[in-house]
Symmetry: C2
Subunit: 229 residues, 2 copies
DNA sequence: CGAGCGATTGAAAAGACTCAACCACCGTGG
DNA sequence: CCACGGTGGTTGAGTCTTTTCAATCGCTCG
């Protein structure tokens, strides 16, 4: 069970921070960060920010998972990314000055800290490591998305599902993967029914194991070979 | 016809530079840039860099067009972006330290300058405007790609083609759009035959006009309404 | 003039989606 | 404690879009 006291998360001892983009801060900076950040407990399915709204700061996930998604014409979500503990969410639009092009929402109960825009930009001005980390992170995501686009355009749903499960294995550590069928379909980019049928195939092929919502990968190698390059 | 003398492009008078990310340089910096950059004439279909190679610097397009693409499992190209005069190409991987995840190749004869990695990174260190411009650009592209992914996942080929033509209108200014059917298909993310059939539909609906390879948009509004949000 | 590549067309097959119905689990209130 | 209602999960059938494969056409370059 999660600690619901929002006062309890301190940056200096935060395991999520040390392995994140904010891991390179000196102790003064951490103290300063601690003074300026706020921390909140979120229930499942709560919104961090909406598409079209203007960014007021960045979110640091201390515990929990967050989906970042965009809605298509008919309102169907396309999940672009699933963020876990240690990741930061919502900083891209802060730099461009544009409103958010995506929305973010918790997938489970979570502890998430918030750093206001000005504070964060100040840190970036003074801390070269942080700045370079951010630039590197943006570049990496850009590269990931080029692959995502190519997969979406060229792979079959079966291949994409295999690929998605491999990614999800990294997000849900330790397993099992615990995601609604609809969210999983919206991540893979397919209809819920199609996703369910393919999961069934994988189950029959002994690749995965399923208990209600919870999914465990039994044969990663096979998934890798299905997913392709 | 293009000027094939690679010595002829000077940064200080370069119209492509002034409207680009490098528009904010002071005159000292421009002089310095001029000393360090090289400029080359490229024929159609020449490679700027390959997927998997390591970045040695950035490319500034003075004249011409460049496709940025990634190959899928079966070698089919997915075009991620088409860059025109004034755009810079190939800087993302430079920051992440990884090899290129995409390749770039000229679509027509082009004049393209090259700035070595160290020189560019030095400029970024000293010039806040440039640095912020880069961060902003990275963020913007990230946002574009979120939309690209969503379109790819949720729109029909017809809708995506309409969307692509609108984008291409912006790249090919003045029209006509002049792109091989295969490249266009690889941009839309479909089979060449499907693309051809849909172009034929658009032609019959009076939306576009086609002369061999050259394509002009007659009814932009209709394209917009087909493309959707 | 001929070779070759890109463009085009047709026909058939496959993959994925939609729609509709049904099931199963879970929390609620009687 | 159990019936009820609701949400999310599952299945089946039919349809439609898109792909694939094969063949033809037509321009351009040597």
């Amino acid at each position: 069970m999660l600690d619901k006291s929002h006062k309890h998360v301190t940056c200096s001892t935060c395991m999520s921070r040390s392995s994140s983009l904010l891991g390179g801060l000196c102790s003064d900076e951490v103290t300063n960060l601690e003074d300026h950040k706020t921390c909140n407990y979120y229930k499942k399915s709560q919104s961090l920010f909406l598409e079209g709204s203007f960014p007021r700061g960045v979110f640091c996930i201390n515990q929990g998972k967050v989906k970042v998604f965009k809605r298509g014409d008919e309102g169907k979500e396309q999940i672009i990314h699933i963020a876990k503990e240690g990741e930061m969410v919502g900083f891209r639009a802060m730099f461009s000055g544009d409103p958010y092009n995506v929305a973010a929402e918790t997938l489970e109960e979570s502890n998430i800290c918030f750093i206001a825009k000005d504070d964060f930009l100040n840190m970036m001005d003074t801390n070269v490591t942080l700045r370079n980390g951010i630039i590197k992170e943006l570049s990496k995501e850009l590269s990931d998305r080029a692959s995502f686009i190519t997969n979406m355009a060229q792979k079959s749903v079966r291949e994409r599902l295999a690929f998605a499960l491999i990614l999800l294995k990294g997000v849900y550590e330790p397993e099992p993967i615990n995601l609604s069928r609809e969210d999983m379909a919206n991540f893979v980019g397919t209809a819920t029914e199609t996703l369910i049928r393919l999961l069934k195939d994988f189950k029959e092929e002994g690749i995965i194991e399923v208990h209600t919502r919870k999914l465990t990968i039994l044969n990663l190698d096979k998934l890798v070979s299905i997913a392709g390059k």
